[in-house]
Amino acid sequence: MDFREEILRSAYETAERIAPSVVEGRATVPLCSWHERLDDIMTSAALGFPIMLVLLAGILWLTIRGANYPSDVLASGFSKLETFLAATLEHARAPGWLGSMLLYGIYRTTAWVVSVMLPPMAIFFPIFTLLENLGYLPRVAFNLDNLFKRVGAHGKQALTMCMGFGCNAAGVVSCRVIDCYRERLMAILTNNFIPCNGRFPLLIILATLFFGETTNVDGPTTNGPIRTAVVNARISPDGASVHSPAVITVAGLIIFGVLVTFFVSWFLARTFLRGVPSGFALEIPPYRLPQIGKILVKSLLDRTLIVLVRAVTIAAPAGAVVWILANTATSEAPGSPSLLSSAAALLEPIGRVLGMDGFILMGFLLGLPANEIVLPITLMGYLSAGTLIKVEGLQTLRLILVKQQGWTWTTALSVMLFSLLHYPCGTTLFTIWKETGSVKWTVLAAVIPLAVACTACFTFNQIVKLFL
């Protein structure tokens, strides 16, 4: 007998001897029958997976739908504050360029990120924490472990992927639940393939514009300067903009992202992260009644607030950079293109090969700090406007994209694919660096998804060319 087992066996024997004399009540709690019956349903071959999918769809629906109103409120609040700030800057006689950069660069970008990101996170994380508190998540890992085992990954990766739906940075942090270093890295490197709340708006808008019906999609228009396409088009108040073809497109993309996760995990297990798959010994706690108060405090403070603070500290400087690029002309001649436009012209050939264009790629490049600003930056380039612009409703957006820039459904799907796969946002990369403490893995966490995204977009466009 192994000495380690001998040590633990004697420890348990001693504990068993002491326990009855000092512990009151039953030493072991018998399994409750309703727990058993619930588990029979939750982990059954027939219903286990459907229940998981329905719950996932339900959470997404609640998040997308519920975030709309608070997003609007925040956006209009920020726009009022902007008017006040503009007056203050004028009163302080700040130089014109400084005022513009502070207000239209830093302030608007930050306000955009907060108003688009905060509401979904404030809804998604508490619901997710609720499921965690109920004890449902270990059942998900239990159900899915077999699939992860086949690609050489850990069953708990299912949990970190779920977290990724809220925010990839939070998803990466949650990889700490995986004890084995090799499999934890695998989960960290593939978390990006789950679209986070920052990317959902883009997926939903484009799916609605190009794959759904777009009648009655215009939300109420207000005149706040940061009321933008993203906020406006998220979902119209009655939810009418989410038509089934659009929902199917988004759901299809999510499923594709999950398949890519499995494929890349499989690839990593055979290249960078070779090794013996570790075991899987997961405690399945009994179901518990959730403590609502604790859930709210824990999810809002631990998750939402931390993620938000990180996003804002990155969005603010990014806003300044974007503003400078869009407002610096390449030569002194009047009407010469801005740095943003000329950089986009450079990227044009690469963009074309991937089914997109230079401005879209600039959007993705400059959107590195936060995925929420990819679409607005692209639009800024298209319209050669100096700041994140206001597009009122989907019809305006459709006019710009389809009529002026010649987007087709293949352009839209290429952008959606690229957004789904490309590279983690700056916040997530920073978190990966913090979690792994390694530059190598941080670089790989960006390079592998980029390679996958380029391959997917290129292949997709070649196939389309072949058949159309």
């Binding site: 007998m1 192994d2 380690r4 087992e5 633990l8 066996r9 348990y12 024997e13 030493a27 072991t28 709690v29 018998p30 399994l31 058993e36 588990d39 029979d40 982990t43 059954s44 071959a45 286990g48 997976f49 270990p138 890992a141 239990f142 159900n143 472990d145 077999n146 699939l147 085992k149 069953g155 004890d179 013996v276 798959p277 570790s278 075991g279 899987f280 010994a281 997961l282 405690e283 399945i284 706690p285 009994p286």
Partner: protein, 91 residues
């Protein structure tokens, strides 16, 4: 099924890997092979010689399965359960 049957004091005993124990059956752990992928974790969970263990259910794919150990439910992959030898007393 890998099972070795033998008799002690006229009572039918059989030793087999936990992975081969059918759902719903209970047995006593005799030995945990250090080759188990999660050897340390298994011991930490209290699966040591002499511990009673019951197979509660299996996941939709049949692997992993859930076991009742010392009042707690623990999920183990097949590779781990294969390394835990248990003894069943025929009733």
């Amino acid at each position: 099924m890998l099972a070795i049957g033998y008799y002690i004091g006229g009572e039918a005993m059989s030793i087999l890997p936990l992975a081969s124990l059918p759902v719903g059956r209970e047995a006593t752990v005799r030995y945990v092979s250090p080759d188990a992928p999660s050897y340390r974790r298994i011991l930490d969970l209290g699966l040591v010689g002499g511990t009673k263990v019951k197979v509660i259910r299996s996941s939709p794919f049949g692997d992993p399965r859930a076991y009742l150990v010392r009042g707690a439910v623990v999920a183990l992959r097949r590779e781990d359960a294969q390394a835990i030898m248990v003894e069943v007393t025929d009733e």
